[in-house]
């Protein structure tokens, strides 16, 4: 999931709550205005999450009508046959690879297309087309492109027939690059916005001090991009933990389940009627994302403060 902007540069110094007596706020900004939003959040988001913590400890399945508590049996079963750690490892590796490639591509594109010329504006729009496309469609496009006798191999050279999507070791990297390809346009936009916020007087000062282009870039402009980096890295990392479409449309979790991220596992076991296992993995996903979200965001924030 990526939500853009505000985090990149928190709105500064506008008084958050105008100082006024409490009684007035109750009249002018009544709490009931929030009721519909929180009711929907409660019913469709928070309650299912709470149930996740309940049903992960039951034997809920499509094969019988009764649902009985079974303690931690689901976790033990998934842990003992190695599925739990395996799916978790694949998900985290996938998320880290996506975050890396998406930011690398987005950053390079932003630097390349920084000047506001007509050509650059048109090229930027081209890179936004994959962002608009369905991830499923992107998956099918690359499934076709990356066949052993497909378009990419024929461009590389005659007789080159590497099976990009059937290599148990490297396919996960290929799929992560496809995911990054789809979203790099959005990262590019945020980096472009970040580059624009850099005050010209700082750049001027650097130039007067005789800093080389290289020094200027890495010592002055790159550190000032920290808020954009924070935003891009955390949304790419945590968003791809919850990924599904691209992996499903390219490999379906294969070869030999080496790209089976948690949501693919959930989708597969749910389809088999093993609801308790699917719920257990769903809870694992929730816990891992929740546990990762706080340190990732706070580490990146801290780095911003130092710089």
């Amino acid at each position: 999931m990526s939500t853009v902007t505000e985090k990149t540069a928190p709105p500064r110094a506008v008084p958050t709550a105008p100082a006024r007596p409490r009684g007035t706020a109750r009249v002018t900004h009544p709490m009931w205005f929030m009721a519909p939003a929180f009711a929907i959040l409660l019913v469709f988001f928070f309650l299912p999450t709470v149930f996740n913590f309940v049903y992960a400890f039951t034997d809920w399945s499509s094969f019988k009508s009764a649902i009985n508590p079974v303690g931690t049996a689901n976790f033990q079963e998934l842990a003992s046959n190695g599925t739990l750690l395996r799916a978790l490892r694949i998900t985290i590796v996938y998320a880290v690879l996506v975050a890396f490639f998406q930011n690398l591509f987005g950053f390079l594109l932003a630097v390349l297309l920084e000047r506001d010329t007509l050509i650059n504006r048109i090229v930027r729009i081209c890179f936004l087309v994959p962002v608009l496309m369905s991830a499923l469609a992107v998956g099918y496009i690359f499934q076709a492109l990356l066949k052993p006798d497909g378009g990419v191999n024929s461009l590389i050279g005659h007789g080159f027939d590497y099976a990009w999507l059937a290599d148990p070791t490297w396919t996960i990297v290929t799929v992560a690059v496809i995911h990054a390809w789809k979203w790099m346009g959005l990262s590019m936009l945020i980096y472009l916005a970040g580059l624009k916020t850099i005050p010209t007087d700082i750049v001027e000062a650097g130039r007067i001090d005789g800093a080389s282009r290289w020094t200027m870039f890495w010592r002055i402009r790159f550190p000032l991009l920290a808020p954009a980096i924070t935003f891009n890295v955390s949304t790419a990392l945590l968003g791809s933990m919850n990924g599904f479409d691209i992996v499903q449309a390219t490999t379906g979790g294969g070869p030999a389940r080496t790209t089976e991220i948690l949501n693919i596992f959930i989708y597969r076991t749910f389809g088999q009627g093993l609801f308790a296992q699917a719920t257990t993995m769903s809870l694992v996903l929730f816990l891992v994302v929740a546990l990762m979200a706080f340190p990732v965001i706070s580490i990146l924030r801290k780095r911003e403060e130092i710089l």
Partner: protein, 275 residues
């Protein structure tokens, strides 16, 4: 400095070349394959079709692939979900931005937690069954609103905080109640941030297949769900010309909206960051 001048000369060529390779080739594959006959498209490659039959193929998926029904299904859930989440989210965001204190801060943290936390999709299905909403458009709309509420509240709250409260106070002094102030004063001011939020939420909801599969799979068809269901079976098996014709049909609506409003969308996304 001559370094810089060479780069200035080369940069446009580099930019166009990169776009042609990274975006042009995949998109060419889609259009070329969608224009081929079944036999030619069996092994999808980058060659041009020996004769173009793009419209015949689109016509075939349109009728055989039941696109009108799926298109209607998509509209049925996307439009109410997006309008609903924007309205309800903005109402909450306005109060959250304007009221200080610990309660508002805690509620705000709770409201935006959904930006990173993944929805509990499996228990959601069970819960919707108990509510009698499983497989219904209302259930799907509620689920999308629940998932993207955090995004809207996060965006709009940040934006409201940059608007001076004096504009509202003027209306309050004239005796306008909160509903009137919100509808007449606040909502019009929110237009830029709502435009950005609309396009982002539309992007996710229009293209979603994962949540739709769990909530309305088999009951209501949406465009991505339909593509997903049939791409691996029956009509579409190895029929790459039909798959990519479908992709074109499905992508065109969003692409058209984007082409019309691209300047405003891009500035909406970037200006938020500049503030």
């Amino acid at each position: 400095m001559s370094d810089a001048r060479i780069w200035r000369r080369l940069q446009p060529y580099a930019a166009v070349l990169l776009a042609a390779v990274l975006i042009g080739i995949p998109l060419w594959l889609v259009v070329a394959t969608a224009g081929k006959s079944r036999g030619e498209a069996l092994q999808p490659n980058l060659s041009a079709p020996s004769h173009w039959q793009l419209f015949a193929n689109i016509k075939e998926v349109w009728t055989e692939g039941k696109i009108p029904a799926a298109f209607f299904g998509s509209l049925l859930v996307v439009v109410p979900a997006v309008l609903g989440v924007l309205l309800v989210g903005s109402m909450a965001a306005w109060i959250l931005a304007r009221r200080g204190g610990r309660v508002a801060a805690a509620l705000y943290a709770l409201a935006i937690s959904g930006i990173v936390l993944p929805p509990a999709v499996v228990t959601l299905v069970l819960w919707l069954r108990q509510l009698g909403l499983a497989g219904s458009a209302i259930g799907m709309i509620g689920v999308y609103m629940g998932i993207y509420m955090s995004t809207v509240i996060f965006f709009v709250t940040g934006f409201v905080r940059t608007i001076p409260a004096s504009l509202e106070e003027a209306a309050q002094i004239d005796g306008a109640g909160p509903v009137r102030v919100f509808v007449r004063v606040v909502l019009p001011l929110l237009r830029p941030v709502l435009a950005t939020a609309t396009i982002l939420v539309c992007l996710y909801v229009w293209n979603d297949v994962f949540y739709a599969f769990f909530v309305i799979g088999g009951r209501i068809d949406t465009l991505p769900l339909n593509l997903f269901r049939v791409a691996s079976a029956g009509l579409y098996l190895n029929n790459w010309h039909l798959i990519f014709s479908y992709v074109i049909v499905m992508t065109l609506p969003l692409l058209t909206v984007f082409a019309i409003a691209q300047r405003r969308i891009i500035s909406g996304i970037t200006s938020g960051a500049v503030k």
